[in-house]
Amino acid sequence: MRYIALIIILSVLFSCDDFLEQNPTGVLTSESKLSSPESALAFTNSAYDNITVSNSAAGLWGGFTPLLLEYMTGKSTSENSQSLFKEFQDLNLSARSPYIEQWWQGCYAGIAKCNLALSKLDEFDHLDQELISNYKSEVLYLRAQYYFYLVRLFGDVPKVKNVQTELGDLQLTRSPLKEIYDEIIIPDLLEAEKSSLPFKDETGRVSMGAIKTLLADVYLTYAGYPVQGGAEYYEESAQRSLDVINSGVYSLFQSYDEFRNPSNNNSTEFIFQTQYTVNLRSNQMVSTVLPSRSGMSAFGLEYGSLIPSDDFVKSYASGDLRAEEKQFFFRTYKGHPSKFSEGAPELEFIDFNAFYIHKFFDQQAIDVAGQSGLNWTIYRYADVLLMYAEAQVMADGTPNQQAFDAVNEVRSRANLDPVSTMDLDAFRKAVWDERYFELCYENKTWFDIIRTRLIRDDKSGTYMNFEGYVNIYGKAYSQKHLLFPIPLREMQTNFNLSQNFGY
């Protein structure tokens, strides 16, 4: 009896071979076989995931990636102690800076997604090949965009064109900046340019207009510092801008108010934007630029992290509409009912006695919703007009009528008189001025400074050599400031990287 019982008990205790095989049920692995059109789209979409790098949180209280490029111009300040503004005011960059790390990380995260999408899209050979080719073109555009940011911020960077699978693949050296342009950025865009993507896309996807615009910018930059590719690249650039202008699908908004209205996202003047939508993803820059703790908005907090310098605002020509109250800047508003007691005079009017950025003033968000669906702009038509004017004059030596028209289109909206009959230098300065005044605080100015190595002195209105220029805080730019340091974390995880000059 005793042993029979024992045998019965023991025979129940059996093992099964696959007991330790546990597979995830809620996520796909890279070995999962996917064939639906929706999954092809999802891979394509992933390339867009990190385009938010242009406007994302940098792990600081009220600190966002656009601040890095604006602080560096010396034409802005901050009321937010935690924005690390002091580092930039003192031109005292640290390889530990979270802004710098965030830009680097975001771009490479986007590149890896592009690389995987390109390789996965090849597997969808059973789907409409034109569709797949257009998907790939979107991805190529985005990969070029990420690399374009990287080379301008950091110079030589590791080149990743394929999906990395082995840990040994990760210790890369930096490839020369020109090689990144020549082997990735330019070929990717030229390939994308062959697609049948529509010239305009109002849902927020990459369009042919965006591809041409980025190419125009890439060539314009390539022609300038540090590559100095030569006049032919100005010509290539001008050609792409002209394609956009001639397409006729883009035009300037009538008024600056239309920039700030989320219902105009992706329309009219906007060529490529980072997408925001109320309840899904809110554009944090809207509250970041409001006067610190002013109580003027429905946002939980106003940060005051990016504030235009007085000198800059005051350097607008008199009569320039953009410098007038509540166009590009504002000095007064009213308190928000959630932040002031009933009857408080602030509910009627507050004078902040300083200039704040009005470009991102999404009124519905500020007054009511406390979250903003206003897109963050990467390219808009005014930029294209000005790129055309600059590239044309640099390619041909004298401005043509179309170039004058382009500049004057931007000027006339600002109630400024048209310009005419100028030589190259004068015209180029007129275009640059327009770029400063039109595109300020949109992350354009810094890139213009480093490709021209000239910086506009707000007091005199003249263009000074970058190296040696002393900013309003009394600090001089030097050669090292043309590039940001490679993030320390990257240096520590990749032994094969060298640091940029001066850091």
């Binding site: 019982a5 007991f19 590791p158 703790r293 006695n353």
Partner: protein, 1125 residues
């Protein structure tokens, strides 16, 4: 494993039958202290012409007695006839055991052996003999039944009855020898007396403690590993609501951090330091053999019989891949075997008083208003341009008629700390019913607890029940079960950082409510934001309910006398549901924007295990014995999560009870995971002459968590102990009762990382097109098919010492351990597109010393005093990190990194600037080089580049203590008892990150009173920058001023008890009753400038010692009552 069914049936021929039955395991658990079983057990035997051996077998069958004898001793005995009804075992033994043999009863074990001095039974009384009577009592004065009372030098003797009384005829000049297992033998000269009362003294050496180890028990003297043990009496010597609180300071090398005044105590336990960086550092909990019980705090300390902590590799290797952080074994109470039922009640009521900490005080309304104005007065100095522009608007009392009277004075002065934290009343009641006889025993425990937390509206309520049954079906099979049910419910807002922060930051000018009944809000003051904590308690609910059911079934099969087999099947199932509501009017947490947010999330965990093991015991010869255990087990754990959220309600009435009333339904979320383990384990013990003890342990573990290249690993250990006191040269020594040296070496593992980390995944996120989400697919993990366990190799040298008749007990352990193949969430280059990869890289070492010293200072019949010292010191050092030994920054404050992981530094080193003070007016030029003004903070420029930035950060402190010491003293005087615990934690730093908000800025939230010592031209020698409106820039980064010495001495507990004396008890019909009062945390000595230096506000392995708005802790006063019927 099927071949195990044909495990050899060991023949008696091979070894003499001398075995201990497997019940020993359970007898130990019962451990009814010296109950005099032999007097109580009654036998009924009717056997004719039977072999003595068969009679013994029959006794065994009827009772719990077990016999030890050499079989040849009784083989040739004449057959006997026994006719007995309801008699004690001695009556039968006296009848069947001839005079040339003798027997001796040790509780339930009876040894039969040759009698060196054949008994001459006293058949007649000598003339000068007198009748002597008396009572033998135990150390508590209770009658000691079954004690043996013998006339010295003769075999004349008797045993005491149930009440400890005896009667014996003796020679007047005789000397009495009184003995009982576990007590020192007493010799008393009669000296003419006719009544002799003897109180017996405990013999620490003889009262052999039994210690629970993995898959078995072992006598303390046979232990080879380092195991700390706490029995129920010591565990409950202060009122505790969870295991962590009960364990604090009781075992050297077990650091219990009680991190909060919150209801669940937020306990963190570390055994011998931190081994791991990414994987868990929590010990493994094993409750009644159930491995890895999910939430140990759900178990009521009242239900625990004993708690053992396995520390060294020899003890923990049996738990293989999960043993590296140490193991805490919990054995719950079982039924009794006495045949006498017992009912007992334990209960206490506690009052928690918010501990006043003079080190952290906040500004009152008047001070705050003055600081605000000072800030504005100083704006011209710090932002002359902005000031001249008129950028700053000072609040004026005229415009703030809500807050200021016509005289310009503040109308209110609210102490927000007092509004947020209150005094509390908590209850704890337990009823237990225990009964059973030698065949079947059972017990039932009912437990209720309601614990209020200091934070208003926060509480935890627990109902728990436990029932267990053990039954011996026949001589070779015992089965049993144990079921624990817990129901926990409560409201917990402690997780909301914002509330704790506002309790410190809310502006004292603001009232809780205005006279018209509307809420006060910080927003009523310009530039300030957020509502007040008082409002949060009304408008936020975070209510959760946890149900846990632990069940355990076993069968214990005796295959032969030497070989047994045990199989257990256990489950642990837990359901946690959290209901969350943010009201429609609350601006924070998105309530107003969303029109109210209701969330329900659930988590279901289910775990099952089946463990089976064989146990073989044999005595090889007279001097040596061996024990062999071999087992295998299967375990599987699943978790399923579900979350749902609804927004925009017509009224706050519905909260989470009617999600469909919300018009905006957020996407539901779900996920599930599963993991499994398959293990084979064995232990081999060899004991030679009770002098040399060897233990070999090994476990072979397979885990689903790891990569396909490394599914299985083996964890061996080896230990040796030398009982020097059993050597001839120490025998009979008056000083050394027990001297044992231990040495162990072995490896254990740590597998506590997430599931499926070895694989490469496609993650999914959303991007927006046309104002709608569109899915993405991308690779979100690099994957690592080589992923495997962390392996900790540990060597431990120990010394157990018992001196001067047990007056001094000492355990000393020195250990050194290295954890290799750290499961590091190692950063990889961002150029991979990913941030980190879980891989086995890096090493950490821990070395330390633990000492436990118990002294019995005074031990008389009316007064006793006992002291225990637990001392531990541990040094932790990172030996290797990542491919390039790169730094890792594990915790981040809003202003910068605070902690660093770096080679040659301890885990959790603090990282920051060095604050030298403030710039003086005569240092203006030097300050200007740094872009600073006199009155600004002055930091050390580490790299001398005249720039203060993140390159000037350095290592500034350590979050783990240099040493800890707990001193426990207990006193007994007649029916009174008194005890206290003092806990010393020394050489520890705490990052008081809230200093940023309290001192490094002002004017938008409340500050601490220390800001009144800020820099002024007249007060330049200060660590605090000049007050200025915060929009003009304050320096504030983690630094040496935030980092403070967190060393402390805490009077953990003081208790005074009174046990009702016997006469009253018997009148009341109760067997024991004690009332007590106690105070916990009555005294805290520390230089730390926060609420409490024992603090952890961040989750994860590095949160210890980071105080980013911690909370106050209670001083607790308790009154309690224990009654046994």
């Amino acid at each position: 494993m099927k071949n195990c069914t044909t495990a050899p049936l060991w023949r008696e021929k091979l070894f003499r039958i001398m075995k201990l039955t497997s019940f020993l395991l359970f007898c130990v658990i019962m451990q009814v202290a010296a109950s005099g079983y032999s007097q109580k057990a009654r036998l009924q035997i009717n056997m004719k012409n039977a072999e003595v051996k068969d009679v013994l077998e029959e006794i065994k069958r009827q009772s719990e007695f077990d016999f030890l004898y050499k079989s040849d001793l009784i083989k040739s005995l004449p057959k006997v006839t026994v006719e007995a009804r309801e008699v004690q075992v001695t009556e039968i033994l006296d009848q069947i055991i001839p005079d040339d043999l003798e027997y001796e009863i040790f509780d339930r074990n009876i040894i039969i052996r040759k009698n060196p001095h054949p008994v001459v039974k006293p058949v007649e009384m000598k003339e000068d003999d007198v009748d002597i009577s008396g009572k033998i009592t135990d150390e508590n004065g209770q009658g000691l039944p079954g004690a043996s009372v013998i006339e010295k030098g003769t075999s004349n003797g008797t045993t005491t009855d149930l009440d400890g009384n005896f009667k014996l005829a003796l020679d007047e000049a005789a000397t009495l020898v009184v003995s009982f297992v576990g007590y020192k033998t007493a010799e008393i000269e009669l000296a003419g007396r006719s009544t002799i009362d003897v109180q017996m003294e405990l013999d620490a050496e003889q009262l052999e403690e039994i210690v629970v180890v993995g898959y078995g028990t072992v006598k303390k003297s046979d232990m080879t590993g380092s195991v700390g043990s706490v029995k129920k009496e010591r565990l409950l010597d202060r009122p505790s609501v969870n295991v962590g609180q009960a364990l604090t300071g009781k075992i050297a090398g077990v650091e219990v951090f009680n991190n909060s005044g919150r209801p669940d105590g937020k306990i963190k336990i570390r055994i011998r330091g931190n081994n791991s960086i990414t994987a868990s550092n929590d010990p493994l909990y094993v409750v009644d053999g159930i491995i890895g019980v999910s939430d140990i705090n759900l178990i009521s300390p009242n239900n625990i019989e004993s708690l053992e902590v396995l520390k060294d590799a020899s003890a923990t290797a049996i738990y293989g891949a999960r043993g590296a952080n140490g193991v805490i074994l919990i054995t719950t109470k079982r039924g009794t075997e006495t045949g006498k039922g017992s009912i007992s009640y334990n209960g206490f009521v506690s009052m928690g008083i918010v501990a006043e900490n003079q080190n952290l005080e906040f500004l009152n309304a008047e001070e705050w208003w003055s600081v605000y104005n000072t800030g504005f007065d100083n704006i011209p100095k710090y932002d002359p341009v902005g000031f001249s522009q008129g950028k700053y608007n000072r609040a004026s009392p005229d415009a703030l008629s809500l807050l200021f009277g016509a005289d310009g004075k503040p109308l209110y002065d609210t102490d927000w700390e007092k509004e947020a934290y209150r005094n509390t009343v908590s209850h704890n009641h337990q009823l237990s019913f225990r009964n059973g006889d030698k065949n079947t025993s059972y017990s039932l425990f009912l437990d209720y607890m309601k614990q209020e937390a200091l934070m208003d509206k926060n509480y935890l309520e627990r109902y728990s029940g436990q029932v267990n049954v053990d039954s011996k079906l026949n001589p070779w099979l015992k089965v049993g079960m144990n079921v624990v049910l817990n129901y926990n419910t409560g409201n917990d807002l402690y997780n909301l950082y914002g509330i704790k922060r506002l309790a410190q930051e809310a502006i004292p000018l603001i009232p809780v409510k205005y006279p018209d009944g509307s809420w006060g809000s910080n927003r009523d003051f310009p530039g300030a934001v957020q509502d007040t904590p008082a409002r949060y308690f009304e408008d936020l609910v975070n209510h959760s309910t946890t149900r846990q059911a632990i069940s355990n079934f076993y069968l214990d099969f005796e295959i032969t006398d030497q070989l047994s087999f045990k199989s257990t099947f256990a489950t642990d199932s837990r359901n946690r549901k959290t209901n969350n509501y943010v009201s429609r009017d609350l601006i924070q947490f998105g309530g107003r924007n969303a029109g109210g947010i209701a969330r329900i999330s659930t988590r279901n965990d289910f775990y099952w295990q089946n463990e089976n093991y064989f146990n073989f015991n044999a005595d090889l010869d007279q001097n040596s014995s061996l024990n062999f255990m071999l087992g295998f087990s299967w375990q599987e754990r699943t978790a399923e999560l579900l979350g749902t959220e609804s927004r925009n309600f017509v009224d706050d009435f519905y909260q989470w009870h009617n999600l469909q009333n919300g018009t905006v339904n957020m996407p539901s979320s779900s996920s599930d995971t599963k993991s499994s383990l398959n293990s084979y384990f064995a232990r081999f013990n060899y004991n030679h002459s009770n002098k040399y003890l060897f233990t070999l342990t090994g476990r072979y573990d397979g885990s689903s968590k790891f990569g396909k290249n490394n599914k299985y690993a083996f964890f061996p250990s080896l230990a040796f102990a030398w009982n020097a006191s059993n050597e001839n040269f120490l025998m009979g020594n008056d000083v050394f009762d027990n001297v044992k040296f231990r040495l162990s070496l072995g490896q254990t593992g740590n597998q506590e990382i997430g599931d499926y980390l070895y694989a490469q995944y496609l993650g999914s996120s959303n991007v927006i097109f046309d104002n709608e989400f569109s899915s993405t697919l991308y690779r979100n993990s690099f994957g690592n098919p080589d992923l495997k366990w962390e392996t900790t190799t540990q060597v431990d040298m120990g010394l157990d010492l018992s001196l001067i008749n047990g007056r001094v007990d000492m355990t000393l352990d020195l250990y050194y351990k290295v954890t290799d193949d750290l499961l590091l969430n190692a950063p990889i280059p961002y150029s991979s597109g990913l941030n980190s990869l879980t891989k086995n890289i890096g090493s950490v070492e821990n070395k330390g010393l633990e000492a436990m010293i118990s002294t019995y200072n005074i031990n008389t019949s009316t007064f006793s005093w006992q002291s225990t010292f637990n001392f531990a010191t541990n040094k932790n050092k990172i030996l290797k990190l990542g491919d390039n030994n790169e730094d890792i920054f594990p915790t981040k404050h809003a202003t910068g990194q605070m902690q660093i992981l770096r080679v040659d530094q301890p885990i959790g080193a603090f990282w920051g600037l060095t604050r030298l003070g403030t710039w003086n007016t005569d240092e203006a030029a030097e300050a200007a080089e740094f872009g600073r003004l006199p009155g600004d903070l002055k930091y050390e420029d580490l790299n001398g580049d005249n720039i203060i930035n993140q390159d000037d950060f350095g290592i500034i402190g350590n979050s783990m203590p240099d040493w800890t010491l707990t001193v426990f003293n207990s006193f007994k005087y007649k029916n009174f008892d008194m005890s206290f615990d003092l806990r010393f934690v020394q050489g520890i730093d705490v990052m008081n990150a809230g200093t940023h908000n309290r001192e490094d800025r002002s004017g938008v939230a409340n500050s601490s009173k220390t800001i009144l010592n800020a820099w002024t031209p007249e007060n330049q020698n200060t660590m605090i920058a000049q007050i200025r409106y915060m929009r003009t820039y304050y320096d504030s980064q983690p630094d040496t001023h935030w980092l403070q010495d967190g060393s402390f001495v805490r009077l953990q507990n003081v208790m005074l008890g009174y046990s009702l004396p016997e006469p009253i008890l018997s009148k009341l019909g109760i067997s024991q009753s004690r009332i007590y009062v106690s105070g916990q945390n009555l005294l805290l000595l520390t230089g730390y400038k926060g609420y409490d230096p024992e603090v952890s506000t961040f989750e994860g392995p590095f949160g210890q010692g980071v105080d980013d708005f911690g909370e106050p802790r209670a001083k607790t006063y308790t009154i309690g009552l224990n009654i046994n019927f």
